[in-house]
Symmetry: C2
Subunit: 727 residues, 2 copies
């Protein structure tokens, strides 16, 4: 629908396409055949010594060139005096020198055609104004030369498979699983690695992204998503910098079926404050991130332990196509109750066992065991392990079982007898199989892992991780077949003339109407005769409203009259609201009076939009009345919204129950509400160059199949925008 | 207020007082000077061998008498052949024999005046019908002899301070802190002990209460609360058996200022099912327990790790009278953000630092550190530890700081330098001081504990535990000065005549009125003339309702007419509702027509009551309308309610915001609502012998200072009761 006020901005499309960032090649960084260490020194613990120490420790097979004018030899390696003496085409430079020296050094390295670099040095954007300037110059260097730089202010990275380590990590990485981890906090990354190690698992790839000079968090995600030997990608993120990259990276993860498990921090205002002063990240609004992650099936975890448990589970356990409930097989009734409680808390169903399963279990187990799920096989079963294994097998074969958790504790002396049986089961089943062996020794854990068994540490943590896997599977089925790509959106882009103020209600609604969103029948009139005429045409009852830029809160000013049922009422009210307008503001400039069909049957809700600095237009849906005011019952997701997104948003509201109908009211037209959300999303995307905020409040959701009508609408241009109170 | 239908049941009071359970003396159990082991055997691992092995290992100083007809000597102890050969007055008997042998053995032991016993044997109430009978006989034995028995089906107990262990625990307890732990699941108890040990702490007292033959969970709580050397009491509980004991135990904990930290399981239906089949506990409704624990300032934790972390924190950290916010001092910006996020999530305030503190920190710390809370001292501070200590001291001295968490990670090599400084700070401050040293080695943890420092393992877990301590302190201030004891309640007990059916609305409301609860002015009439007369007396508008036992849903039957404004309307409506009643049910028996003052200005809510098998009358408060229907916005607490309880209940509702006033509606009379809750609580307690359910729905909360009126009321006698749909 193209009308007078609309032009297609083709030039802008072209400009955007040209601006698409040059792809940086991270291959030489993570798989270097040669490494130079600038400012290298001898020893074990110092930042400048650590990379060489770790490379040697890990047995890196490529060539290493330490550079330091002070030495002729470091740890047996001939030391190069000047960068200019380095051979050309070295894959990776490790830079551990003063911030002010970093750029000149990189430029000299560029002349030797170095292919990538990692900068440990701090003193860039995290260090205030002067650092910010250095950072900008570094970013520019990367953009112009196409040489990817990890950092600055980075702990570095490793790729254990190729014994590459370019880091001053205080740990010596050893355990390696097909897991990649990216962290915006070096310290947090180290901690997560330590915690995961204590659980018997390790990262293959690890990268501390530091201040992200052009190469950002999601560049790494993209790179790791493409690595065939990587199964799971995890990360700690304070904020993303580039929406397009993030979208592309997540799309790639979906395409490659690589779960992306993120701990997003900076939810709180105080937290966000800290994030800015810490790595100068643009920490977006937590609820937008959460909405976005749900939309994209990114697994968001809540704390350190949920992070490593979930990474562990996705790494070790199978995710079959089977659907059903969770079976719990425990040697402790207490643990069974704890796990059942947690299943309920997380909305995971316990499997209802088939009668055949129950009777088989009855045969296998002693009389005082519980053959109902949670199945308490009792500690006595340890005296006849075949019965334990058979009970697990029988339960796994039940068609209603999607995942099974076995609980055991302590008793490491039994490990050599139990673990082979559990390993065999883990290998044979195609269902998700978890062993929660609480208080297991290092040796027991190692043996479980070696046997391909997914181990988790406590009843509660097992179920918390499992819920992430099960929810991920379910959401995967819901993802739209094809994503709404940026290019597609651009080709049908329609933009209204930029408008920098606040549009009046009538004009705003006309814009919505152009996008196929219903508004009440009506017209804008200049005198009472026209008002009566319009009223007769559209039919009583009607609403009258004075339009004026000086009157923002119309009801307070007494310039709205509703439910007018006759010509007389229209005439009287017309006069009255004009008088009220004059009383409210003697200098009032009246743009006209709106005569509109009175709509009353339906549920009032609200739809809004804001422009987020990262996500661009985000669409908010809120329940009406007390729900939004008392409970903040809103949901927000970045545009574009698909119909699936819109439905998910609606379903996530507490007010969804009201939409579906309660107390003889409803059901309401949820399908039309979803369609309206998608239309608003399209509108906001198209108008994003000038539109800062949108507020359709109330939007009336009518009875099923009766549609949705925007009763009031406010559009705010960018220059005028202040944050609306609902955010 | 005593009226015709009411009698004071003095006999019943007396009966109840007499029935108060005999106090059992647990002293010989936990501090025995002599122990006999019935069915003892030699070795390390077997259940029958384990107690002797552990007693020797721990170096028990009392006398041990193994009893087993098969041996003459066990592990160097002369073995006694028959119980009858035992000396008299042995303090404790450990019984590890077949279930069927337990009672005869106990009887023989009783003849030798044994003072207490622990029974490991299973095959009692957890094992179905035959076991249940054995259990009953065992309970009776305890009641009649006054010999306390721990178990049956118990893992046993220990008291490390006196090297007493009467357990077949597979661990060898060693670490000991002033902590007592009671568990209804032996396996869970063992796990918690292992987890706590891994954190460098241990229980002094541990008891697995098993099937609780008369001596139950709260008997142990009472005993431990009285031990001067015990600081913290923790537990795993599936259900309580005796409200009076529980109340008394909790009161004692409060009185002794001993925090009681419980993990209550069996929230889910499935979980509860498992609980019953596991230790045959009476698992009550989870929400009632939660309400009760809040009321009593019992700390309820959500999972295994929160349990041990919270126990650890209460054990090691100080709880001063200082009020304020939490200060975070970290070497990692990331950890600071994570902790700040968690503070927000749990409703803990971050301390706003005083300008003096900030300037002192600025002097101490490098330019790139963050001197705002969370304070990022940066990892560099490790090179000048005095500055770290001084930063902590300066921050602790800030008047706005109530608690301080220092975050550090790894770097155990620095422990010898850091820990003395942290210990000194911990000893000097009177504020809550926590060191979260993530990835600390065993040695580091031990050194921290030895230095009196409270250590916690991760940023998220530190804040989760800390919130329990801070909330505990705040609630302590809110506890009523004097508890409403059972005896006090009984002395003014007033009971209506038992009523086994469903009372009609009018009668129900008269009962409420007798307890000082407002109901609309009105009367019950038999004919239209009386109706008009009453209407004129009370003033229009009025409501008419037909009273009949055959008509439960009056509105549906068309026998209610509201907002009648004149004599004519009353006459017409009177006729109409009688006709409708006849149409609804041709055999209808009409008890009369209620003429009532029409009340409409206010907020509709609901108050209800059910009889819980354990807690007795519990009072439910629910928001009105969509809040209760869509959100289940209700809160339930056992009677008696104090005014503080009532206020807390009201404040805990989402609908509290509505009561306080929104959108120009309200505020409403919250004080009167609280008073009404207390009156309902008194009513339900007084009538508990016959009253099963009560439903005041709606109750109209009028504008501030205008009161609260019960618009409708239903009372259900015990024999008739079915569960109301709102539970």
């Amino acid at each position: 629908m193209v009308n007078a006020g609309v032009v297609i901005l083709e030039e802008e499309i072209i400009k955007e396409v040209i601006n698409m960032k040059k792809k940086l090649n991270l291959e030489p960084m993570f798989s270097p055949k040669s490494i130079t260490i600038i400012g290298a020194s001898a020893g074990v613990g110092k930042i400048s010594a650590r990379p060489l120490f770790l490379l040697r420790k890990l047995g890196y097979q490529g060539t290493i060139y330490p550079v330091n004018a002070k030495y002729t030899e470091i740890e047996g390696y001939p030391c190069i005096q000047e960068i200019e003496e380095l051979p050309k085409d070295i894959d990776l430079a490790i830079i551990s020198i003063r911030a002010s020296e970093v750029l000149p050094t990189l430029e000299r390295l560029a002349k030797r055609s170095v292919k990538s670099a990692v900068v440990f040095s701090s003193g860039f954007s995290e260090a205030g104004e002067s650092g910010e300037e250095l950072q900008q110059r570094l970013n520019k260097f990367v953009e112009e030369t196409g040489i990817p730089v990890c950092g600055p202010n980075s702990l570095g990275f490793f790729n254990l498979k190729e014994s590459v380590i370019a880091s001053f990590l205080q740990l010596e990485p050893s355990r390696m699983d097909p897991i990649a981890f990216i962290t915006q906090s070096g310290a947090f990354g180290t901690l997560s690695y330590k915690m995961l190690n204590d659980m018997g698992t390790g990262y293959q790839y690890f990268v501390s992204s530091g201040n992200e000079a052009t190469v950002d968090f999601f560049d790494y995600v993209q790179y790791f998503a493409k690595q065939e030997d990587i199964k799971v990608i995890g990360g700690y993120i304070e904020g993303a910098r580039d929406l397009e990259k993030m979208n592309e990276a997540i799309r790639l993860c979906q395409h490659q079926d690589k779960p992306l498990i993120l701990m997003k921090v900076g939810k709180s205002e105080k937290g966000a404050e800290a994030a800015i002063s810490h790595t100068a990240s643009l920490t977006g609004d937590a609820s937008i991130y959460s909405g976005f992650f749900k939309q994209k099936n990114v697994i968001q975890v809540d704390d350190e332990e949920e992070l490593i448990d979930t990474v562990n589970l996705f790494n070790k356990a199978k995710t079959s196509s089977q659907r059903g409930g969770v079976a719990l097989v425990t040697i402790s009734g207490g643990a069974g109750i704890v796990m059942a409680d947690k299943c309920e808390q997380y909305g995971i169903e316990l499997a209802e066992l088939m009668p055949e399963t129950t009777s088989k279990l009855k045969e296998l187990l002693p009389a005082f065991a519980s053959v109902k799920n949670p199945i308490d096989v009792t500690a006595q079963i340890m005296q006849d392990l075949e019965k334990l294994f058979e009970s697990i097998r029988v339960t796994l074969e039940d068609d209603g079982v999607e995942a099974l958790v076995v609980y055991n504790q302590l008793g490491d002396f039994l490990a050599p007898k139990i673990i082979p049986g559990l390993s065999e089961i883990a290998q044979q089943t195609n269902k998700t199989f978890v062993v929660c062996w609480a208080g297991a020794s290092e040796q027991t854990k190692d043996a479980l892992f070696a046997g391909g068994v997914c181990w988790l540490p406590t009843p509660s943590r097992s179920i918390r991780a499992l819920k992430n896997l099960l929810h991920y599977k379910r959401r995967k089925g819901l993802l739209p077949k094809q994503d709404f790509t940026v290019t597609e959106r651009l080709t049908n882009r329609i933009v209204m003339e930029a408008f920098e103020g606040i549009t009046n209600e009538y004009t705003s609604k006309q814009h919505l109407k152009n996008y196929g969103i219903s508004v009440p029948a009506g017209s804008i009139v200049k005198n009472v005769e026209s008002a009566v005429k319009v009223a007769e045409e559209i039919g009583y009852p009607i609403v009258l409203k004075v339009l004026s830029r000086q009157i923002v809160h119309k009801s307070d000013a007494g310039v709205v009259k509703v439910n007018l049922k006759s010509e007389d009422e229209v005439r009287n009210s017309f006069e009255e609201i004009l008088i009220n307008a004059g009383k409210y503001n003697p200098q009032v400039q009246i743009e006209g009076v709106v005569v509109e069909k009175m709509m009353k049957e339906g549920l009032e809700m609200m739809i809004g939009s804001i422009q987020d600095p990262l996500f661009g237009p985000c669409i908010l849906l809120g329940s009406g009345g007390v729900f939004v005011e008392v409970l903040n019952d809103t949901v927000i997701r970045p545009a574009p919204l698909t119909m699936e997104d819109a439905w998910e948003m609606i379903r996530s509201l507490k007010g969804y129950a009201v939409l579906k109908g309660i107390r003889g009211q409803g059901p309401y037209d949820i399908q039309a509400l979803a369609e309206t959300l998608v239309k608003v999303s399209e509108f906001c995307l198209d108008q994003q160059d000038w539109l800062q905020e949108l507020d359709i409040n109330p939007v009336l959701v009518q009875a099923a199949k009766k549609g949705v009508t925007a009763l009031d609408c406010l559009l705010v241009g960018k220059r005028t925008a202040k944050h609306l109170s609902y955010l």
